[in-house]
């Protein structure tokens, strides 16, 4: 049984705005599924329907085996939710908020204290637990929000843009926690507009644009749909033609750019070692080389005809050049 099953889910708002236009998706138990799309694509509307905060206007959805419309109360018992813009009361302390959340989920006073303290420690807020949330940084708020969503040990966790607006360190901390939760068996459904986040965290990615699913698959599958990894080589010595002749045995040579020899590799990184050995045997010295993977932005561009908003800023950092092999 999938943890989340969505069939032709739609949501039309008053005024006729169709935020979600009949999407289908399945998320397996124990999976991290990223819903990637620009602002206004329908990500949050979908999450709100799956978390019973918003009623679908058509289609169906079940979470943890329960229908979001007919068995909404049971769905709420099974899910943890951390919504966009952490919905925390700035006047409460972290400790109070955790206790309240525990009470809302039916934990006894002693259970609430034990579980609350453990979660506050887990998200690294023990020293700030008695401070009002209003004094927390954005990253601390997000971590607290994540902690409160875990108070009843949910089987499915929904995270709506969990790292939007966070600095890299806070983002990394959230990612780490999501990975840990997933390793413990929690199914995670997260929305994001960050390519890197989807790429780094998700087992599978659904790309949504204008309320429609544009593509779905593992990051690797999606990237494979738009092209093969490219190996770019700067030569230290040896002719470009000779190099291209060697590379042609391993992949499809592509037009050189600015003196850099380029070849599309079927096997990605696994294909680099044989190439290095072949170049070495041919007496061709390489100054540096880069393996360039197709990005999810390439996928988004391919599927929607435009780049994901903010893609330039969020593009994965260029890979570190691999150390050049010593010529024989």
């Amino acid at each position: 049984m999938p943890a989340i099953e969505v069939r032709q889910l739609e949501r039309t708002f008053s005024g006729g705005v169709r935020a979600v236009q009949g999407i289908d998706l399945e998320v397996a138990e124990g999976e991290i599924y990223a819903f990637l799309g620009p602002n206004g694509a329908g990500k949050t509307t979908t999450v709100r329907m799956l978390t019973t905060l918003l009623k679908p206007t058509a289609g169906s959805a079940s979470v943890a085996g329960f229908d979001v419309l007919k068995q909404a109360a049971k769905v709420r018992q099974k899910i943890g939710v951390a919504l966009q813009e952490a919905a925390l009361d700035p006047l409460m302390t972290g400790h109070e908020l955790m206790q309240l959340q525990a009470t809302l989920h039916g934990l006894s006073k002693s259970q609430a204290k034990e579980r609350g303290d453990a979660l506050i420690a887990r998200v690294g807020l023990t020293n700030a637990a008695d401070r009002r949330v209003g004094t927390y940084s954005g990253g601390m708020r997000r971590r607290l929000d994540l902690g409160t969503a875990l108070v009843h040990e949910p089987s499915v966790l929904f995270l709506d843009e969990p790292t939007t607006g966070l600095d890299p360190a806070s983002r990394a901390a959230i990612w780490e926690e999501v990975r840990k939760l997933n390793a413990e068996g929690t199914t995670v459904f997260l929305t994001t507009q960050y390519l890197e986040e989807a790429d780094q965290l998700a087992d599978r990615v659904g790309i949504i644009d204008e309320g429609l699913m544009a593509a779905e698959g593992t990051p690797r599958e999606l990237k494979a749909q738009v092209g093969k990894p490219r190996l770019e080589l700067n030569l230290a010595e040896g002719s470009q033609q000779a190099c291209e002749a060697v590379l042609g045995r391993f992949g499809e040579p592509l037009p050189p750019k600015d003196g850099v020899v380029v070849v599309a590799l079927e096997e990605g990184a696994a294909g680099i070692a044989p190439i290095i050995r072949a170049l070495d045997e041919a007496g061709i010295a390489v100054q540096d080389l880069h393996l360039v993977q197709p990005s999810l932005d390439d996928v988004f561009l391919e599927k929607t005809g435009r780049h994901l908003e903010g893609a330039d800023a969020e593009e994965q950092p260029a890979p570190e050049p691999a150390p050049a092999p010593e010529p024989a």
Partner: protein
């Protein structure tokens, strides 16, 4: 049932703490009516000499009920504003996404407004006693005043909650502030109904706030009499019934989206 009571108590406690941690919410409930009371009593203290003015020990004794009902209505507005802020900030979504009865969200808020009513009752009884008023009904009278202030706050709180749930906007709830004064000044809360001019007098005769104010006033200015107290309680029950119905309707509308 017990679990639901724990949820209501937890939400109520959170709302009470919120009021005490946000002075701009608490101050209007206590300070503004206190200042209004001081100005009224200081400036119009000889009103008791007007022929046909009810037989009371002093103008402060008469005005205390007005200050109490004014304060409870302001507590109701504050409760509504706080609920609207929860909606605006998304905190309400946290509650809705939890496996709790939906009504607990509103009942918890109204319970906190009722607690503000207790505070209001105690505050003005204390102010009255400090500045020379006499609670003719004695300790039972004072307790009756506090009890009626408590239920009155919860009753009007239903209207504040309904407005917050329907509008989802704190500024809209704050916008009803002037209406409070219209309701109060077209009643016998601060001035005897029989001395008002038409049409205010006729409106006052039917205004539930008049019955509530008279019910609260009775234990202060005379021994406890059944009729005004029961009429006051009936008016509070009526307001509570309408407020509760409106807030349930508002909640259903909000959850129906």
């Amino acid at each position: 049932m017990r679990a639901n009571a724990r949820v209501v108590a937890a939400l109520s406690l959170r709302s009470i703490k919120q009021a005490f941690r946000r002075p701009q919410f608490l101050m209007p409930i206590l300070v503004f009516p206190s200042l209004f009371l001081a100005v009224n009593v200081g400036g119009a203290g000889r009103a008791t000499e007007i022929p046909a003015f009810p037989d009371v020990a002093g103008f402060l004794d008469f005005e205390l009920a007005g200050a109490i009902v004014q304060s409870t209505m302001l507590a109701a507005v504050s409760g509504g504003v706080a609920l609207a802020l929860d909606i605006e900030s998304g905190f309400m979504d946290r509650l809705i996404a939890s496996p709790i009865p939906r009504t607990a969200i509103v009942v918890g808020r109204l319970a906190a407004t009722a607690a503000m009513g207790v505070l209001t009752g105690v505050w003005f009884v204390a102010i009255g006693l400090i500045f020379g008023a006499e609670i003719q009904g004695g300790i039972p009278g004072a307790l009756l005043v506090i009890a009626m202030a408590t239920t009155c706050a919860a009753a009007w709180g239903g209207f504040g909650a309904a407005l917050a749930l329907r509008s989802g906007t704190a500024s809209v709830v704050q916008g009803i502030f002037p209406i409070i004064f219209v309701i109060i000044f077209l009643s016998s809360a601060f001035f005897p109904g029989n001395l008002l001019l038409e049409p205010a007098r006729s409106i006052s005769d039917w205004n539930p706030m008049s019955f509530i104010a008279e019910g609260i006033r009775d234990p202060i200015v005379s021994d406890i009499s059944a009729q005004p107290v029961l009429e006051g309680m009936a008016a509070i029950a009526g307001v509570m019934a309408v407020g509760a119905a409106l807030s349930v309707w508002g909640l259903r509308k909000r959850l129906a989206t």
